[in-house]
Symmetry: C2
Subunit: 456 residues, 2 copies
């Protein structure tokens, strides 16, 4: 550990104004959106402006054995950016340059740019960066890479790692390594770019990213279907995904629908047990055919109402309703935001099991899902001032992860393990895979200074 | 090293008939298609039948410090499966089970099944495994995973790693680890599945793979365009890929065209300097539009002839011509088969540079390319009985890789580093990325028994 006198060495190694040490200034950097109550007080916050700044921080941290918690926009939901006592919080929020190369359909971007800003910058060139976490307007691209973030588009377009062609990473000892680049195929050497994606700041600090881009998608056709039972909705999901590739396939359960309707009248069917919002971005005639085929599948599986539109704005209003669920449910209490995923055919068993857990534990657990890839977000609502209620919510949170593991699923589909889910990681991975994770961590960060306590 | 007496221990640990030790029986396992003249004589060949067999081999190898060379179908082009002196060649050719799950659109497959057999088995369920190396009829899926193989579809559908959701891997000490599974999103733990893809048998032996599948693609529309210059063809490639997503975009140069015509009259234009074969697998009306737009782009860039067809069989004959180049050129001599890739806008500079090298070194170097992703296969033809000619071919091989590196490209886009390209890996990666590769290797295989001499 390090005293204030030695901090002078860090301050001198960085451009003026990079280091924050007063408690008020540091307060905003102690937590991410998981609001981890165990967050520590940092020694300092560094707002890096370049790869060189990040190298200076890591060299200092290595020399003085100070833990470093890398941080993007602080929108993580698993506590991956919670400060640990006496750490340096290393924020990349000021690293915001982007260069778009339409000829290679790639861009080179620094980690602090927001996902929405990346989308905006490439759209000016007629290009598209698909990954779209619900938080895309406030989350950083660096955080997206660090967590291998998902979103609504994944069912057709895959997750963040599928778009990462190259990285610059600063290692625990301050070495900056360039991996990959704007080449669509490259098998020279181990797949290290992919190893750093989703490593949650435990192996290195990402300072520069090369992203693969697609041409802008076509305006989608949208279908909204109401179901009298969750089983009818989940069997529809299985029937659709086995044969078709919709560009979105989202599920809201009754509690989610009603939370949205309470919050903003969207005209959703409050009596439905489940709602599916499905889009196709094929060419107009094909999209119309695909939507008609999906509508027929919904009806065969017992949908009570099916509505389709080729008006992108009308479609977007249903997507907005879906995106509104978390803020709407947040008005009902504090949330333990789950992120379990299962193979698609197990979706019905998962949502049934969650309903059973909610009833047994007497907690409200609205469920939304990126249904097409089996990734659900049960929202465990609780009153943090009520210790017994909080304990029941925590028990439900635990039981949902164990349920998912039992169904062949994962404890986290897109949010990351962070600090909140670490207690369950070993049960999910098993001892051999956990040991393998630790061997990689030990090889790259032998002193354990990179984001200690997160992921592993 | 180990004597014959100790081999009894290995033979006893395996089912009857797994171990080959007679020189004639082992001869077919010493080389892959790179025909590495430095291939050693194995101690034994093991034809494993299960994960347990592979574990038994690795435990034996670890105990006796015997190197192990994992081997799929032996179709590798970089010498990644060349035997080393005194090694165990561990063949997975007998591990051929597959289970297809249409509900999750995944399959679980053992490494010995051929790529074409995987495609065939999943097609019975209306599903599609996209990656399609030119050797797809003879290469194994395990080898594809080990090299992160590419193919013709990559320009739209990505490479092997994009389809690998899970692996069972046997580590150097014989531990079998299950990584990932049939979940489309899973961020619990480090991205170890992706790390093993493309690791060329240097980190572990793959014994089971979970693959993501797509619905069967639509029949393609095909466009063939002849160009009076390579520059006209490569500028067409850049113009097409910046705005569109064809499902195939292949290039043949004049020497390739003529090699095919010499071998089998396909009616290709022998006077063209370059030919592009382009497909669209959009819905029929959209494919027709896309092909018309690509045809216009070809003409704007100076194509001398453009031919389009919506007849899949007619289209397939042009793809067959493209696939025929390597066997056709092989009739002209021995080949040093290159695999360099560059960012797409550098494709013109690369093919120009290759022509210059061919002229300077007085060797014939026909070029084919997966042009849409900048991945080229210059085929350096030489007479192995002519030492001077062979030396000039080897010099050209070296110069092509240096040219690619200088253009921001890679020394291997899809074949792997193996043993043939290892001398260039350090120059490509640079010392820091090379050191990082070595740290990972040392962490997972500290005694260096897994495929020593390959990749690293």
């Amino acid at each position: 550990m390090t005293g204030t006198t030695e901090l002078a060495e860090l301050i001198e190694a960085l451009p003026p104004g990079c280091v924050i040490t007063d408690p008020d200034g540091m307060a905003g950097y102690r937590w991410d959106r998981a609001r981890d109550p165990g967050a520590g007080v940092p020694l300092a916050v560094v707002r890096a402006t370049s790869t060189e700044d990040v190298q200076a921080v890591m060299r200092y941290a290595a020399a003085h054995h100070v833990p470093v918690v890398p941080r993007g926009a602080g929108t993580g939901l698993s506590g991956g950016a919670s400060a640990v006592e006496g750490c340096i919080v290393l924020s990349t929020e000021r690293m915001r340059r982007i260069e778009v190369d339409p000829a290679t359909r790639t861009c080179v971007v620094e980690p602090g740019l927001l996902n929405a800003e990346v989308k905006g910058a490439v759209a000016e060139h007629g290009l598209w960066y698909p990954p779209d976490p619900s938080s895309y307007e406030i989350c950083s691209i660096g955080g997206n890479i660090a967590t291998n973030a998902g979103g609504l588009c994944c069912v057709k377009y895959g997750v963040t790692t599928d778009y990462v062609l190259g990285l610059t990473v600063v290692l625990a000892d301050g070495t900056a390594v360039e991996l990959g680049g704007p080449r669509l195929k490259d098998v020279a050497g181990l797949s290290l770019t992919k190893l750093f994606v989703g490593s949650e700041g435990t192996l290195g600090v990402i300072t520069r990213v090369v992203l693969r881009l697609l041409p802008q998608p076509r305006p989608p056709h949208t279908l909204v279907a109401s179901f009298p039972s969750l089983a009818a909705a989940t069997s529809t999901v299985v029937a659709v995904t086995r044969a078709m590739r919709p560009s979105m396939l989202e599920l809201m359960d009754r509690a989610s629908i009603n939370a949205v309707e309470d919050h903003a009248r969207m005209g959703l069917d409050r009596d439905a047990e489940a709602l599916l919002v499905i889009q196709s971005d094929e060419s107009p005639s094909t999209a119309a055919e695909e939507v008609a085929r999906i509508a027929a599948t919904c009806e065969q599986n017992g949908a009570s109402e099916v509505f389709a539109t080729d008006d992108p704005a009308e479609g977007a209003s249903f997507v907005a309703a879906r995106r509104m669920v978390i803020p709407a449910v947040e008005r009902r209490g504090s949330l333990l935001l789950e992120d379990v995923g299962v193979p698609v055919p197990q979706l019905g068993a998962l949502v049934d099991g969650i309903a059973r857990i909610a009833a047994e534990r007497e907690v409200e657990i609205p469920v939304i899902a990126h249904a097409g890839d089996g990734n659900t977000h049960p929202l465990v609502v609780f009153d943090p001032t009520d210790a017994a209620h909080t304990a029941r919510a925590e028990a439900a949170y635990d039981e949902i992860m164990r349920l998912a593991i039992g169904l062949g699923g994962t404890i986290t589909g897109e949010h990351g393990v962070g600090r909140l889910k670490r207690p369950w990681l070993g049960d999910y991975l098993g001892p051999d895979a956990l040991a393998l994770n630790r061997r990689i961590k030990a090889a790259l960060d032998p002193d354990g200074i990179l984001n200690p306590g997160a992921l592993l």
